[in-house]
């Protein structure tokens, strides 16, 4: 037994999945082999299929749709889970002022900011000075350009997110910007940021961010709606820009590679600029006010909603988390918060999967009952087959093969439909959240469909039973 377990554990994941697939298909294959070996019922099953072509097509479609719902749902759910986790991947450890981890997760990782308290300069300084910390990047959100969030941070952070840039260079000046992969800005473009999240946000959400609350004097009213984007070399501060931070212009100098996260639609600027725009000290002492990036001077550090911390060594992450999780700070692993979130939703997920599978079986049960009734219409031919000495197994296989054709056809079509549906939903999700969901048909869907096929092929034995239960001679008499 242990040898068996060891052997199993030693196999590659793909091999294990393949073996599972085979095992799940095995009962159906055994039934098929038992019924079909030595016989050739296909021609007569085809006759049944032709006689009841519309009913057959309807049954096949019903099976396909139910399989599509089941597999599509599971594929979509997994795709979403993987995509959100992938988006959170670069965020090793996030440190922020005490509050809700989920709120902070949404704000810092997925750029869905709401009002959050700020972490002080002293706190930041302590984090940045820790020997175990490789990168301590402040993340300041709250501004936008044309609905794209403008996030203040450091060049280190950009490099951490994107690795190399797709084009251009990192910022070297406070009013230089790096665009996310899908931001409609080109290198050399200039823009002036608006306060708040532009058209994408609610009015009351407009001061989510890394600044002092009394920055409100800086702008008039709610989140800006106007176009802050300017044509290159034509600075234009016309009337329609009255929500913008007038007089401040960023120049795009680089573009990140696609990350599959909401950061693809963000513009990253030096955090110093974000502070300056809001009339705050820019993180550096006056004699070094031109400096870009760390180290920051705690005395001139206005506060940041979140700090991304990357430890020097992976194992240090837990100690760092333990140290920064205290009364005046909170520290969390976004990945862990996500999986907690998913485990809370786990029951719902399971209920959903169960319902999808149940629907699948109910539909199929209905279809098989329909087939059993249909096969009564063939009782004459069945009686004749048995009268002329055809083995019962053959007569049985003629009707079973018809059902099996519908089941297999429906299952394969359903897999395809499920895949297309999941892709369509992924597209919608990506459009709305900028999270690149790649829903594909994976092993778990294949396993589900394999189990479904096997089970229904066995249940499909009931259809011929109904037709063959009748005495032969009854149907032979004219």
């Amino acid at each position: 037994m242990t040898a068996m377990t060891q052997w199993w554990a030693g196999l590659a994941a793909t091999t294990q999945d393949l073996i599972w697939l085979g095992l799940l298909l095995l009962p159906g294959a055994v039934v098929a082999a038992c019924l079909l070996t030595g016989h050739r019922p296909a021609g007569l099953s085809f006759a049944i299929l032709r006689r009841f072509r519309f009913t057959s097509l309807l049954f096949l479609s019903l099976i396909a749709v139910s399989v599509a719902i089941g597999t599509g749902l599971i594929a979509q759910e997994r795709g979403l889970r993987e995509a959100t986790a992938r988006a959170a991947d670069p965020f090793d450890l996030v440190v922020a002022a005490p509050g809700s981890e989920i709120t902070m997760l949404l704000a810092a990782v997925y750029l869905r900011p709401s009002d959050v308290p700020l972490l002080s300069g002293a706190a930041y300084d302590e984090i940045a000075r820790d020997d175990r910390v490789a990168i301590a990047a402040p993340i300041g959100f709250g501004d936008s350009v044309d609905g794209a969030p403008v996030v203040g941070s450091t060049a280190e952070f950009v490099a951490h997110l994107s690795g190399n840039l797709a084009e251009g260079r990192f910022f070297e000046d406070h009013f230089e910007a790096i665009a996310g992969a899908s931001v409609p800005l080109s290198i050399g473009d200039r823009f002036s940021p608006q306060h708040g999240m532009g058209e994408a946000d609610d009015d009351d959400e407009d001061h989510a961010g890394g600044e002092d609350p009394d920055h409100d004097r800086d702008h008039q009213g709610e989140a800006g709606q106007g176009h802050a984007l300017e044509a290159e070399g034509e600075p234009d501060h016309s009337h329609e820009h009255h929500h913008a931070h007038e007089g401040f212009n960023y120049t795009v100098v680089g573009r990140m590679v696609p990350t599959g996260s909401p950061w693809d639609k963000a513009v990253i600027v030096p955090i110093e600029a974000v502070w300056e725009i809001h009339g705050l000290p820019n993180g550096h002492a006056p004699e070094r006010e031109e400096q870009v990036g760390p180290p920051f001077d705690p005395a001139y550090f206005p506060g940041t909603p979140a700090v991304l911390v990357k430890p020097r060594e992976l194992y240090q992450a837990y100690a760092l988390r333990a140290d920064f999780q205290r009364d005046d700070m909170m520290a969390f692993f976004p990945g862990t918060v996500l999986s907690e979130l998913y485990s809370v939703l786990g029951d719902v997920r399971e209920a959903m999967s169960l319902m999808a599978v149940l629907t699948q079986f109910l539909v199929t049960a209905g279809v098989l009952a329909g087939l059993a009734i249909l096969s009564r219409l063939f009782s004459r031919q069945m009686a004749l087959l048995r009268a002329i000495g055809a083995p019962t197994r053959f007569a049985f296989s003629v009707i079973w093969l018809h059902a099996a054709t519908l089941i297999l056809g429906g299952a394969i079509l359903g897999l395809g439909l499920g895949y297309l549906a999941a892709r369509a939903i992924s597209g919608l999700v990506a459009e709305r959240t900028d999270i690149a969901v790649s829903a594909s048909i994976g092993w778990s869907e294949l396993h589900l469909v394999a189990a479904f096929i096997s089970l229904t092929l066995i249940f499909a034995l009931l259809a011929p039973l109904a037709a063959l239960a009748r005495p032969i001679v009854k149907d032979l008499r004219a």
Binding site: G38, H39, R40, P41, G43, L44, F46, A47, I48, R50, R51, R380, Q381, A383, L384, L385, R386, A387, I388, G389, A390, P391, T392, F394, I472, V473, L476, R477, A478
Partner: protein, 230 residues
């Protein structure tokens, strides 16, 4: 004993309510004989045919084909016996309407048997269809006439080269011309290849063409004067 010899002894069939449907103390048919079973409606002709084909589970007595008793055998063994040695034709052809004549006539090639035997069945089916004047095309049999369909059913009964042909009112659903055509096809084939043919029929032309008549009244065989036609 040559193939296609029937000996019936003390055959008795009872129906619902233990009503006696058939009682045949003794009946012999020799190999290659053509016999017509006639009698009034409800006399038990179909019952006799089904009984000697081993289709009735409740038949008692002895039915011996070439010395083998079949009534005491299992349903499965009786099916195997029919598959091997009997060709059955019914009043209604019971064809699979959605497929072609060759699939219908060669249906026996679809179950059991070895590859070379299957091939022989299909070849015979093809030849028989040709003999019976059925166009060998792919169109489904639903579009064939009633007479043609009955001839396809006859080809199906003969394709596996059985020693015995059992037919229950094979011409009843046909018009005169088609009935005569089927009679001559069937009789010609049985005589030419020495098959035993046992047909239930009221059809005078079929009765006249047969070697022998067996008359049943109220479930019992009554003697028929040689050469007379009812």
């Amino acid at each position: 004993m040559s193939e296609g010899t029937l000996r019936v002894a003390n055959l008795e069939v009872r129906g619902e309510g233990d009503r006696r449907l058939l009682a045949v103390p003794d009946l012999s048919i020799t190999s290659g004989e053509t016999v017509v079973i006639e009698g009034p409606s409800g006399a038990g002709k179909t019952t006799l045919l089904f009984a000697i084909a081993g289709l009735l589970d409740r038949a008692k007595g002895r039915v011996e084909w070439d010395g083998d008793e079949i009534l005491a055998r299992s349903a499965r063994e009786r099916a195997a016996f029919r598959r091997e040695r009997l060709g059955l034709i019914f009043q209604e052809h019971h064809l699979f309407d959605e497929v072609g004549p060759l699939v219908n006539a060669g249906i026996a090639a679809r179950y059991g048997s070895k590859a070379n035997k299957r091939k022989a069945i299909v070849e015979r089916a093809r030849t028989l269809l040709q003999q019976f004047g059925i166009a060998d095309d792919a169109r489904s049999v639903a579009s064939f006439s009633g007479g043609e369909r009955q001839r396809i059913a006859a080809a199906r009964a003969l394709a596996h080269d059985p020693a015995v042909i059992l037919a229950d009112e094979p011409t009843a659903s046909l018009d005169r011309a088609n009935a005569d055509r089927l009679i001559s096809d069937l009789m010609g084939f049985a005589r030419a290849s020495g098959k035993t043919l046992i047909a239930v029929s009221h059809d005078r032309h079929l009765v006249e063409a047969a070697d022998r008549r067996v008359r049943i009244v109220d479930g019992e065989i009554v003697s028929v004067p040689e050469g007379s036609v009812s």
